[in-house]
């Protein structure tokens, strides 16, 4: 069987540094469970399971970015937009743990490194940018799509530099760090574009079908939205204002049963 390793393998970063990042990842996930519980209600729990399953599926879809080099979705930005940063990081971690334990992808020793980069750093970077962009951009439908794309590109590059940092601390081979950083960043800008396209498409689809299920829209867009603003902001779409205006009065999501 050909090599389908997609994450950091065993033995690339030394034992002590790997162990330190395992502890860091465990601490971060504990915080995510504590903070994520506030978001996790009867509706978000199954949705978060779906987000994890979807990320698992799309991570199998390696796309070519350069001759002999491919890339795949990391998923942090997608998860953060759909289920929020805390639960989002847990979704990506779930995928990484299952891939490691059952599919032999991403070393067991390196699990903390992979969780730190892709689930913690990737999701955090993606969400921070999503939060900033959604506040800056006009309340138009394209704003969420554009935000998803831009945040994905940045998030993937930042996550790739997380690996460079880990390698700087505990790399097992003497190599030029700047070469590694450049090479990782170059490849991951291209992978980020692919991630951005997938994330933007997925988020736009969910926002069109069930805008009330998009965490970023609920938390970062809903409070200030009035029915009038919603109507003027989306003249071309009939279903979106109807669905979003249902949430307009309430900062907390309430529409699932009512709609």
């Amino acid at each position: 069987m050909d090599a389908v390793a997609m994450h950091i393998a065993n033995g690339i970063v030394n034992g002590p540094v790997s162990a330190a990042f395992a502890a860091l990842a465990a601490a971060a996930l504990t915080v995510c469970v504590a903070r994520g519980r506030a978001d996790l209600d009867d509706r978000l729990a199954p949705l978060a399971g779906l987000v994890a399953a979807f990320i698992f599926a799309v991570q199998m879809l390696n796309f070519q970015v350069l001759p002999g080099v491919s890339g795949h979705l990391l998923g942090g930005t997608l998860a953060a937009i759909l289920v929020g940063p805390w639960v989002g990081a847990l979704c990506v971690s779930t995928v990484l743990i299952i891939q490691c334990l059952l599919f032999a992808d991403g070393g067991l020793t390196a699990l903390g490194l992979n969780i730190t980069n892709m689930a913690v750093v990737g999701t955090a970077a993606g969400y921070l940018l999503v939060a900033a962009l959604l506040r800056l951009l006009p309340r138009k439908r394209y704003a969420l799509t554009l935000t998803a794309f831009v945040a994905s590109v940045v998030s993937v590059v930042v996550a790739s530099q997380g690996f460079v940092f880990e390698y700087w601390l505990g790399g097992t081979t003497e190599l030029s760090l700047s070469t590694i950083a450049g090479s990782m960043a170059g490849a991951h800008v291209l992978i980020g574009v692919g991630e951005g396209l997938i994330t933007a498409t997925t988020v736009a689809t969910v926002a069109a079908v069930r805008p009330d299920l998009v965490y970023a829209l609920r938390r970062l867009r809903a409070p200030a939205r009035t029915a009038a603003a919603a109507a003027s902001a989306q003249p071309a779409t009939s279903e979106l204002p109807a669905a979003t205006s249902a949430t307009a009065g309430a900062p907390e999501p309430t529409v699932d049963g009512a709609a």
Binding site: V4, F54, L61, T94, A104, M184, I191
Partner: protein, 128 residues
């Protein structure tokens, strides 16, 4: 969970199953950005095993789970590569959803509905 949400989840799972079960067979088999960078500077044979040179992956060790029945996104014992990859992917989707949704359900904030939860129910009530 309302029926409407159940339909959305079911639809999403169907898409994920198709992606992991079918489309995955058309994915690129080149090493990904990390793996390609890790192997830069080394020479590899046809199987991707490092034969010489200096690169990040020089000291790479085998995976502890390399003998797992699902190792490397295939199912041990199924020789047809399409079937093996597709089934392992579909199984992965089901397992990830089961483990994820199950764990999230266990740690979720109790309270009947999202609207009811606006009332202050103490979240740190002990379990998990």
């Amino acid at each position: 969970m309302t029926r409407r949400l159940a339909w959305f989840i079911a639809g999403g799972l169907l898409v994920a199953l198709l992606l992991a079960g079918v489309v995955s067979n058309f994915a690129s088999s080149s090493p990904d950005g990390l793996d390609a960078t890790a192997r830069k500077g080394c020479t590899t044979d046809a199987d991707g095993t490092i034969t010489g040179g200096t690169c990040m992956a020089r000291q790479e060790k085998d995976h502890q789970m390399k003998d797992s029945p699902l190792a490397d996104y295939g199912i041990k014992g199924i020789d047809n590569p399409y079937l093996s990859t597709g089934l392992s992917g579909a199984l992965g989707v089901v397992l990830t959803f089961g483990v994820g949704a199950g764990a999230f359900w266990l740690v979720r904030r109790r309270g009947r509905t999202a609207s009811a939860s606006a009332s202050p129910t103490a979240p740190g009530s002990g379990e998990n």
